[in-house]
């Protein structure tokens, strides 16, 4: 069996180290909010998005509801009204304030929520310190889960704010424009196809080490969600994967070739979606005097043809692939390829690390499988064979969404870098576009090549041959 985990030796870490990590993650969230006015933190630009203030409170509630309420007998809640307001979707924990109305929550205001964060942070510190001698593995694992949860919301804060700003006719820049120029000079590499042979591969995350003492440290290093398990064998047929994602320039060719008017390129549901919503280009594009612009955190910019196309729906990704005589990869094809390439998450382009606001042109093959833009796969979001959700209310975290959604892989420039891994499964409905979602093509191997292992330009080391 082939183990393609990026395992590092789990360092001997104390609860102190966990809490240091806790503080770092929590502080990162705050640093995002600090860029924004109370008004911008208040609004909800569509039902799929949430207000920043809500994100700030909900991530805090997560620690309160799953940890403090459960493990701290002396914990007294900050405000009993919050349980209803900031429970996202955990039916096991009670009814929830209607999702589409989150923008209506004027009380608590932003200052109240920031106080709530401090209050809970203090309680978490006290609780974890108090329990540090008791090997409360479950508790500490939940802290790690809560931090990963918070990182997911860091990305959502960014994409929700981007969508909120875009509501305005002239959105203000909330990041400086300086980095853009550096980026735009890069030229993407010519697209290459790498062949992967028929093989049985292992898919999904490995189990944690069983050493109880270091469980939480291992969790920090090797965290995964339940939906990435169990690691299991999967038979892959031979396929080819593109060495980089589709660029804005290539996507513009598709538009100029009439891609949005050609029904035969589209899934039936995609064509209906396009017509009902009068879709003619990616979400944040606009045409002014025959010139294309794209909206970024630094405001509208001339479209950079070298950058990966971003903010496209699954439907658009599928139509583009059809136009390009290719297809999307399955999530299994993508994961196996990523495992064999062993890329590191893109550091250059990351909002949290360096306030870089957009995906980077790719100048070497398979450079940015991780951390540039989410890549739509052809796979619906479904349980792996033998999947069992986490026990208790956290079991609602992932499992109940396994329907009608499609898997994206790789992480984007808005994903915290430490949150990115090759087994990570993101998922959205096929019409959604407000995430940094792009397109990497795949295709079937011509049958004469498929049978000839010597043909492929790049031999995968993944999987055993059959």
């Amino acid at each position: 069996m082939n183990d393609y985990n990026f395992a590092q030796k789990a360092p001997q870490q104390s609860v102190k180290q966990l809490l240091a990590h806790y503080d770092t993650v929590r502080q990162t969230t705050l640093s995002l909010a600090n860029m924004l006015s109370p008004e911008l933190c208040q609004i909800q630009s569509m039902p799929d998005a949430s207000p920043v203030k809500w994100h700030l409170a909900h991530t805090t509630w997560f620690f309160e509801a799953f940890i403090l309420a459960e493990y701290d007998k002396h914990y007294s809640t900050f405000d009993s009204a919050f349980h209803y307001l900031f429970n996202s979707y955990y039916n096991s924990l009670g009814a929830q304030f209607p999702r589409a109305k989150r923008g209506m929550i004027t009380t608590p205001n932003l200052a109240d929520v920031l106080s709530y964060r401090i209050y809970v942070d203090k309680a978490i510190h006290q609780l974890c310190t108090a329990k540090s001698n008791n090997n409360e593995a479950k508790l500490l694992q939940l802290v790690v889960l809560g931090l990963n949860h918070e990182q997911q919301h860091q990305e959502l804060i960014l994409t929700d704010v981007k969508h909120a700003l875009w509501q305005l006719p002239s959105p203000p820049a909330i990041l400086a424009a300086q980095q853009e120029k550096t980026l735009s000079l890069d030229e993407p590499e010519p697209l290459q196809w790498r062949t992967f042979h028929k093989a049985i591969v292992e898919i999904g995350a490995s189990q944690y080490p069983t050493d109880v003492l270091n469980t939480h440290n291992s969790h920090i290093q090797h965290f995964f969600y339940d939906n990435e398990t169990p690691r299991h064998e999967h038979l892959l047929h031979a396929y080819q994967l593109a060495s980089r994602t589709v660029t804005n320039g290539e996507y513009l060719d598709f538009i100029n070739d009439g891609g949005y008017e050609a029904a035969e390129l589209w899934l039936s549901d995609g064509w209906a979606w396009l017509q009902q919503n009068h879709i003619k280009h990616p979400l944040y594009w606009r045409q002014i005097n025959n010139s294309w612009q794209e909206f970024h955190f630094i405001g509208y910019q001339t479209l950079n043809l070298a950058q990966p196309v971003c903010h496209v729906s699954f439907y658009e990704a599928m139509a583009y692939a059809q136009w390009a005589n290719a297809r999307l990869p399955t999530e299994f094809e993508w994961e196996a390829a990523c495992a064999s390439c062993q890329p590191t998450p893109n550091k250059q382009s990351n909002l949290l690390d360096n306030r870089q606001f957009a995906a980077t042109p790719e100048i070497t093959p398979f450079q940015h499988l991780l951390g540039n833009c989410w890549e739509w796969t052809r796979s619906d979001y479904a349980p792996y064979p033998g999947f069992t959700p986490l026990a208790g209310a956290v079991g609602e975290y992932n499992g109940k969404f396994m329907c009608n959604q499609y898997v994206l892989r790789g992480g984007s420039c808005a994903t915290p870098r430490s949150h990115i891994r090759h087994t990570y499964r993101n998922f959205f409905y096929p019409h959604m576009r407000w995430q940094f979602s792009g397109i990497r093509l795949a295709r079937n191997v011509p049958s004469n090549k498929a049978n000839n292992p010597n043909h492929s330009s790049i031999k995968t080391t993944t999987g055993r041959s059959l």
Copy 2:
């Protein structure tokens, strides 16, 4: 001709006095906003409502667009983006930011809007002062129009904030609870019917005095909108009008008698509305453990049976009247009766004067025709015979809304007192409930009584007999 205007001697007032009035009105708006957080000023709880921040900016834009842009050659706009954002519905002045998305305007923020107000206030002062020697009657009339416009928005700020707070499961009190207790002790007077005989009455506002010098002062004292003109003769058939509005207690009888389940009481459209929206009581009522509460600016309170029922739709008003074997008055019946009663606007219960938050029980007949709650009439909002809208873009102020709406009369506890008059025509769609709208009944005079002028308990002095 019968003049039922509450005319006071127009005091000799200078432009200085006009500007003093300007400052008072503008300051009153600010004092409302000062009660509220930036977050509460940001949100729009439904398409019919607007954010407080938008009200603050739009009322300012009104002075800029209709006065400064027109009369001040040297005026330089505060921010050119505002023209699109804060134009409400004046197509003559260009396209408008979509009404339903006003809550999405995060830029400018609240502080910016407050600066905008100061900037425009200063420019208006300068312009008016500069023009004060030139008898710029039209300009000064527009200032008065702008102030009346602002007063309308003061009321909307209150009702929109009430609706916004109500979105929360436990809305905070934004006013102190003290006054409520005083009020609740009052007992309403027993309902009496006053008979009004068949007569030709004059309806609508009188023309302004033609003395140019004092035009603007006359306008302040005797302001009216174009929709109140021309004053004209109207033939009224004999009718009876109730001496007070329907109380919460009476309305509760209607509910307990199955009023919301009895299709035969409802207009066909009203019944459809009720069923689609699962309406079972007035907007701000709720039932907790068999006890009725009503939401006020001081939070949820036990339902006060003595207070006028408020926040009901035209449909509910009509159904209640049907149940009570009565009907709603026409706006002409209402105006003629009010002219004959000569009430003064309710001072006790007024949000702007004394932060009193709800309509007052009526303890003497016809005590609160003005300034307690808006009273639905049976009249659709239509032009008076010979109506001509104002010239120019301000002509869009009223005329184009004369369809599908019903007239309310009298002003409410949320209406600025100086804005209340007996010729005032308010109008809303028949399903709307977020204004302080109540019910005063009318009925036909039994034919034997109608022919006998000696029969009526209270003889009207209005109109000439036929």
Copy 3:
């Protein structure tokens, strides 16, 4: 008092004569259905329309539910399932099959419904004959009401079938094309304005003669609905009325002048309606290769510029009037003018009389106030002063619709001629267009003319001067 009723001496008629009239009306309905296939009788092209089969059954049910069930102790219902299926909106008589699903009623089929008609006709004959000696005035009046009800549905059958056929890309002609040519040669008269002076006029239908013996005969001759009562005095201010309706040619000028793109011409609700529904011309118009066509019962025809424009909404009528520097008349202005002109219903153009399918060009002034096309008025549909609905379930016939609708006057080429009268009030929602609805303009009298009775070209004989 001025009596503008077209009263004729009520002939001495027996119940036999009433039943002969009954047979005539019922047979006319059948003759319409006989033109149509079972499939065309089945469908419902929109929620506002009903299937022909449903009309055939519902009009029959009306006699069953209001007369046979009430007055005939021995009556046994044809099929007990019909009461639920064919009750239109009488809540007093029980729940109703959902209106929007009437096209789903496959059982009974058309043949069953025709048998139902025969069954009820026989029972009505027997009952009326049996009661003929008893002066059962109420019963016989209900028969007359049922026949007028059936005549309303004859018109609805025509307009609903027209709308159903129009769903097809190439609708078949269901009438022969021959008459069209005759009509199209006529030229409309030049539009003239007739002035009507300020006056108190009588509006509404007179009471029936009180001679019981002939009540039902009187009812046939002088039938009116409850919504036309009570006859009452109304003060009219001076106005002018156009001598004919607006033609297709004139309406085309409005279109070509950008009428559908000019927001300032439209009511606010009208503009919203137009934009949401992408309205660019009257309902049954289309443009093929720069040439305008109109859909008629004889199929698509080149637009006849001389014919009255038809199938326009209240919103379009209002916008046209605004564009033409005029307005719509109130229903009172219209009725008073019609009473003074004493026209007879247009015989030339009537679907039931001679299968003529469209409104006729008007070649003399005020020729076709009656029986050409319905004319939108500016008046909302509201009760007359002192209005009382009929007692019992028939009280739901009219009263509960007095909201959000606008009055049309005059009757159309699809209205049975004997059903047309100058006091008749038709009413539809302002967006509706599938009736034969057209436009007659009115305007205010310039003030110098209004005061000078000698000025007007045509002196009205209606009303007394004030």
Copy 4:
């Protein structure tokens, strides 16, 4: 490799035999229509359904558009208007009449459509006979495709008619009630779990024999759609499959246990669907006086607890499985199990064979995998590895629907028996219920059993062990 095809020796068949088959299939469709009135053939009870008349015409159009128009130079179309009206969704062949309005097609009427069928049948006979010497393999394959297409619509006619009848408060029986009694006596077998071991199995349909001469006969015998190809290897992990589908009685236990109120049992989308549509039981169930009934073609019947539950959505199937501590099988698990069981399609219960109207209780294990009710699988409808759609317009047949739908397997009592096979992939959106869709459970093998091949009660012969 394991071949689990039910191959029979392809008999030497001539074109004559193909045409005999053609006549049989076409006649079967007619025999369904003959049970129905023109009115019932006209209506469309929801956008997902189509009128029977439309099915009759569309299946005929399929032969015209794909065969006659392509291969018969002398063919003259029956009516050129039909191409637009009866093209379902083939964008390559031009625009289509709006799907949701198919019920509005009154012209042609039913008689016209029946003539159209005769006209095309004759032309197909002539063409095929003329080409019989030329080995026109492609043409004859298209005839076979057209017949399979027609068989799909036979099933849709039945399910659409069932849905149409159900619109009525008291739907008539269109089949006799006699068979029902026979069925209801059967008792279902106790549910057993059969274990299938981890294996690589072959999924999908085998290629046709390459012998050109008999291609069309082979196609008749071994027909498959492009979505069943290519046959490919798939790695299955060990699983267990239930020996029969869930019964009405078992499903009633789920309801009585609060299944429809327990959010934790439902997919997130399923719970939203349930709440928006107030779903409380399977589509055709109703409760009268605490007694459950189910609507069948013989009218409402007391719920038969022994019959398989039918007309449930994917969401309901998933929730039931969750409640039962099980899951749904993937389509691959299902197919492999079916291949190993080699059942024959249920003959007892088939609408076309013997007018039996509902699924049969299963009295022996794995008796009715085929031809009883469609069984929801956990698999989204996606292309098999290496899938290529058919060339040309027929390529739109399947591929463009591979999104947002879930696969059902097995065929139902409404599926023509010759149309049923174990590789057949049916697919519907997860909320749809008007097909005969039921539930067969699967579950993971407990890990100790999974590793022990001796444990399983029933050893599968499918697949090779790994």
